[in-house]
Chain length 121, copies 2
Amino acid sequence: MTAQNGAGVFDEDCPSRLVLNHVASRWGTLIVSALRQGPLRFHALRDRIGGISEKMLSQTLRQLVEDGLVERTVEPTTPPRVSYELTPLGGELAGHVQALLDWITLRADEIVAARSRHRPG
Amino acid sequence: MTAQNGAGVFDEDCPSRLVLNHVASRWGTLIVSALRQGPLRFHALRDRIGGISEKMLSQTLRQLVEDGLVERTVEPTTPPRVSYELTPLGGELAGHVQALLDWITLRADEIVAARSRHRPG
DNA sequence: CCGCATCCATTTTGATACTG
DNA sequence: CAGTATCAAAATGGATGCGG
């Protein structure tokens, strides 16, 4: 059964809603997807995700870490190397996120064509 | 192949990024999911999606309509009935979105437990 | 009443500089 | 390098107004 009742994410106060807001946020999906192939360091992530600010990267990562979807690792070198990696739970999530992103990538042209039909010009 | 190069959604200027920002927005996933079972009128949608404002519902719906993912139908009665429905393209998308939402609903408790481990208290 | 558009207060996001 | 502090810009929500 596919969560079609009033509960779950449709309920403003349900905890799942919090998770949704972290994951299906402007940057959440991109970060999760970027980490699919393995750990990445802070600046590597920033460079991979076009347009993200350091502030939002930092903030979104912190949320994902709190949610147990991403793990933060610090190697005590100088300068310290901090890398981020999906947890097993995050890995599950990443599969679904990637499917969504792949579909969007696949259909982007078609959708853009639809846009030009709905917008004047 | 699963879109792992620098192109697509990771490129700030790629059209797919626009679509992602509409779909993976705070309300986009919920609207798409809510419409999965059939057409809904404006207020029905608002009531279904806890916490959404009429303004954001209206705005997000307009984006999804522009993207060709949702169709807007006006019955010329008094008062007019305006209903929203997924297009075939939107239906494809909804499948992926629903998978994501279902996973989040399923794992919400586990994730909340993880949060309490990462946050003081 | 229904489906929005508009105005304004609050929240979120972004650019840039700065620190350990 | 890996962030945080700060301030400006943009997104958001609530209230309200309005034509049908």
